[in-house]
Amino acid sequence: MWHKLLNKLHGDRYIWLIVGLLSIFSILAVYSSTGTLAFKYKGGNTEFYLFKHFGLMVFGFILMYLAHMANYRIYSRLAQLLLVISIPLLVFTLFFGADINDAKRWITLPGINISFQTSDLAKLALIMYTARYLSKNQAHVNDFRTGFLPIILVIGLVCALIAPADLSSAVVLFMTCMLILFIGRIHIKYLLATGVAGGFLLAFVILLAFTFPDVGRLGTWKNRIESFTTEQEPSYQVVQSKIAIAEGGIIGKGPGNSSQRNYLPHPYSDFIFSIIVEEYGLVGATTILMLYLAFLYRTVKIVIKSPGAFGALLAAGLAFSLVIQALVNMGVAVNLLPVTGLTLPLISMGGTSLWFTSLAIGIILSVSHYIESNQQQHEEETASLTDEQLAQQAA
């Protein structure tokens, strides 16, 4: 039975294995850290969030499976379509989205009543589109006007639309895209120039936040930056997160033994890494980091094998995006970066964002799947050729 199931899974086996292992970590950490949540809202029914999370995860796997069965070339077309859809959606969300903490990030799909963050969709679309653009324009990719300018404008537009409600997502997405541009052979001087310009822009926004802390989310940004940069009195979350990490030690307190989950806000999403360190220690932290790096490494392998530029850039772009987000989340937990609301992909409890992550992995696997089958075909062709040669020799 397992064998049959495994035979159904194509693409890189190691990536499947890594996703499976991360999911197990996810189940354990989410179950442990939703205890207080369950007591607050579900009358102590601690299994509620476990089952909810498990259900979301199973659906994520289904999406992953479906995505990896498709030929990755269709994603080139799909990228255009998704980008065209997501830009107006972002605008819509900015004005009419559900308002949570002064941030309009969510919209609800009418009819099926599922709400999702439009930035998740836009992120996926933009990375896919960038991969498409770079592969189509490899010939003149080093030209500023015909190669660099069109794509940086698209990236800038999408990030600018995400930024008002979710600055950190926008910044991370922008940096990820820069990395993809770099991999896609855009000239480094353009990227450096853009980096400097982006830095100035960010500095300007921060200045704005300090000047008008009462407008929209500017106040939140100001507070987070302030508490990160000033020495004394780190913010509550940071203190609690550091306590969790310090308490964890080398091997941790053991599964389900976290006490900081009662103090940390969002221990099941934003700060799940702290809970993992508390329960599984530095050993656990290292394991998680290794798993993400291994995932990235396996994707690099795919890129090496990939015959065309699109598949390579698509897989690389999505994988880097995912791992960068993971590192940002963990960086926040250990106070290497200021507090953001980014989740730890594949591990945090989360609804629809988990599904976008699953789709991204499915697409990577799709690239891998088709490279493998092409190779097989190739080998079979060579094999039959050898047969023919043998036959000829025999004749």
């Binding site: 607050k40 809202y41 490899q138 990395l179 770099f182 991999i183 896609g184 052979r185 509550y236 203190v239 550091k242 306590i243 990490i245 310090a246 308490e247 964890g248 030690g249 006490s259 900081q260 103090y263 360190v277 530095l282 932290a285 290292t286 980091l289 993400y292 790096l293 990235l296 490494y297 690099v300 890129v303 090496i304 530029a309 390579a312 850039l313 690389a316 880097f320 791992v323 960068i324 590192l327 963990m330 960086g331 250990v334 106070n335 290497l336």
Partner: protein
């Protein structure tokens, strides 16, 4: 370099950079553990956050006409942070005299020197949580907020206010036991509707994450509550406060007159079973009477003569007896197996009709009939009683309903005397409410209604659960039997034991007196009586049924007709005069507009609710949330009340809640005088708002 190779070195470089970041994360985690570990671990040991419960506001209990029977009022505890960071020595010593003077004047318990010393001592000790006063009311708080130093608030002035809610029963003793209370703690008992509907009333408490700061003060960590409290729902009861008042007063007077131990009076609406009044008074030593136990619902006792109605109903149902038959009641004494059964007084009536024997409440007559017809098959009689549902609890919402006792033939304690004694209301036990439910069924053409106290449970003024009248039994007996019983009960008042006290020319009452000797343990019956009267009125088209039970009157008068009868009469008279007669006279329907106040201002959504409840067209009031009404002939128009944000609004005609909301939202300090609707405001409408300005509103 090929394109592929170009991409590859770039991707390796990117991978390398990412790996470096991963290493940095790991290193930072390691650093937190090793170099800062001690500090964080120490902090973990003294973790100083906890969740504080934010009490949800308990729901109100209201009478049928919407008056508050029980409500939660906020009270405040005032504390002082004597070393709040912004209070320096200069400021403190400049203000301490006037602050102490304010305290001394406000609380009238100590002089200013006492308070001054107290404040200075607190400052010297570094007390950040000095208790100033508990149980401060809202109006008091408004004044205290104006005091020197305190007016600067929590952080600048060290002024700490904590809210508590206290349950208040505005009408005191009225239906107190039925409204009930909730107490917690070991051995504490909760009673009444408060207990039965606690789950609805209590709401859901909120939670707020608090952190302890230096000095033992708990401060909220975040701006908002982690869990918002959800206020409790309101109970709309069936209690009619006017009837309740009448019943309670009449009962109290009778208890005092007869120096009785306790008594109860219940009024029920015939068609629905709604309990309109339920009064329970018991003697509290020398200090008079108080609602100390719910006798109406909890006390099952031997009812005595009021039970004879059930006996007669059984006999009629079996066709064994007609009202016109005769029975020999002799001189008021007969013997069953050597045991004497006596009428209330010796007499020489001899042979009388069954109707007459009932009117005279003759124990001899009724027991003879029952004995004669049921001694062969006693269970036949019992089965009738069960068909009348006399063996079951009514299922009223309040906990602790007494269980009726109706023995089966052959049960333990059953004897040859059981039938004759049961037939006149001994060897059975029923609560006053159970007896009333039975009589109410007679009044309601045989349809037995379940008594109930709660009409609906409302959240934010909208019912979340409504309770409709419920029939226990659609017909407890045949129509012929019913007519005969009705005639018997009318006869009691017109010709029998209740004539002297209850007969009147205005309207007719049907009912039955009861005088029971109270069993004193196993030692038989002492000379302690329970006097009762149960019946309904007007007899021709019954609207209300009522029972009055007075236990242990001690002034030598103990007959049901004389002790309980007058209470019944007083209640019935007032209800008849105030409601039934009025209704008949006001047969012409009043126009709806007249029942809407001529001029009223308020929150538009409230109005649209009122209008839809009255069946009036709901005017378009979406644009402006505040409106006022004007009468226009027979209809009511709603006009929009324009309230600019920077002007003092016109609040005349508004209720207190609306007025406070509008005014305080504009940053005005409001002083309230009187109650009712606002008729005067000290600052004229249209005056530009200056924040913190005081406005006095007078209500009547």
């Amino acid at each position: 370099m090929t394109i592929k190779n170009d991409i590859l070195w770039r991707i390796y470089l990117a991978f390398f950079m990412v790996a470096l970041v991963a290493l940095a994360v790991l290193f930072q985690a390691f650093r937190v553990q090793v170099t800062e570990g001690g500090k964080w671990k120490a902090m973990a040991d003294s973790l100083t956050t906890r969740y504080r419960t934010i009490e949800a506001e308990r729901g109100n209990i209201l009478s049928a006409d919407g008056r508050l029977l029980a409500t939660s009022l906020p009270f405040f505890e005032i504390r002082f942070d004597a070393v709040a960071p912004s209070i320096d020595d200069d400021l403190f010593y400049r203000k301490v005299d006037s602050l102490a003077l304010c305290m001394s004047r406000q609380f009238q318990d100590h002089d200013r020197n006492y308070y001054k010393q107290k404040l200075i001592a607190a400052r010297n000790q570094g007390n950040r949580y000095l208790l100033i006063k508990r149980k401060v009311t809202y109006p008091e708080l408004q004044q205290i907020k104006q005091w020197p130093l305190f007016r600067m608030g929590r952080y600048k002035g060290g002024f700490i206010v904590e809210q508590q809610n206290k349950r208040e029963i505005p009408f005191g003793v009225l239906a107190h036991r039925t409204i009930g209370y909730v107490r917690s703690g070991p051995g504490a008992q909760s009673v009444g509707l408060e207990a039965s509907f606690n789950d609805y009333l209590k709401g859901r408490d909120g939670k707020r994450l608090m952190q302890r700061v230096a000095g033992g003060v708990w401060m909220p960590l975040n701006d908002e509550n982690e869990i918002e409290p959800k206020d409790g729902a309101d109970l709309i009861t069936t209690i009619d406060l006017n009837i309740q008042d009448v019943a309670e007063e009449a009962l109290l007077r009778a208890l005092e007159l007869h120096d009785a131990d306790h008594g109860t009076a219940i009024v029920m609406e015939v068609a629905t079973g709604k309990v309109r009044a339920i009064s329970n008074l018991g003697r509290m030593g020398e200090s008079g009477y108080w609602e100390k136990y719910n006798y109406a619902i909890g006390e099952a006792s031997e009812p005595g003569s009021t039970f004879k109605t059930a006996t007669m109903m059984a006999l009629f149902e079996d066709g064994l007896v007609e009202p016109t038959d005769t029975v020999d009641i002799g001189f008021g004494e007969t013997y069953y197996h050597g045991q004497a059964m006596k009428d209330a007084k010796p007499h020489n009536y001899g042979r009388v009709t069954v109707q007459r024997a009932f009117e005279l409440s003759s124990n001899v007559g009724i027991s003879k009939l029952a004995h004669q017809h049921y001694k062969a098959d006693p269970q036949q009689f019992i089965d009738h009683l069960k068909r009348f549902r006399l063996h079951e609890k009514t299922g009223i919402e309040i906990k602790g309903e007494g269980k009726p006792l109706i023995k089966n033939s052959g049960d333990e304690g059953w004897s040859l005397l059981s039938i004759p004694w049961m037939s006149v209301g001994y060897e059975v036990k029923l609560t006053p409410l159970q007896i009333l439910t039975f009589y109410n069924a007679i009044a309601n053409s045989g349809k037995m209604m379940k008594p109930y106290l709660v009409e609906s449970i409302n959240a934010f003024g909208k019912p979340i659960k409504s309770f409709a009248p419920q029939a226990i039994e659609t017909a407890i007996c045949s129509e012929e039997t019913l007519q005969k019983i009705h005639d018997l009960l009318v006869g009691v008042v017109e010709n029998g034991t209740a004539r002297y006290r209850l007969y009147n020319n205005n309207y007719r009452i049907a009912g039955k007196t009861g005088t029971a000797q109270i069993a004193q343990g196993s030692g038989g019956y002492a000379k302690v009586y329970q006097s009762s009267f149960v019946g309904y009125f007007p007899a021709d088209r019954p609207q209300y049924s009522c029972i009055v039970v007075v236990t242990a009157p001690s002034k030598g008068v103990y007959y049901g007709g004389s002790v309980a009868g007058p209470v019944f009469k007083e209640i019935a008279d007032k209800i008849y005069a105030n409601q039934i007669q009025l209704q008949a006279e006001e047969a012409v329907a009043t126009t709806v507009a007249e029942s809407v106040p001529a001029h009223q201002s308020g929150y538009a959504q409230d109005f649209s609710q009122v209008f839809s409840a009255l069946g009036l067209p709901i005017p378009d009031i979406n644009e402006e949330p505040w409106v006022y009404t004007i009468r226009d002939g027979d209809s009511v128009n709603v006009q929009q009340l324009n309230i600019p944000k920077d002007k003092v609004p016109n609040v005349r005609g508004m209720g207190l809640r609306d007025a406070l909301y509008v005014l305080e939202n504009r940053g005005l300090e409001v002083i309230v005088e009187g109650r009712g609707k606002v008729y005067h405001q000290s600052v004229l409408p249209g005056t530009p708002v200056t924040s913190g300005r005081t406005i006095t509103i007078k209500l009547s």
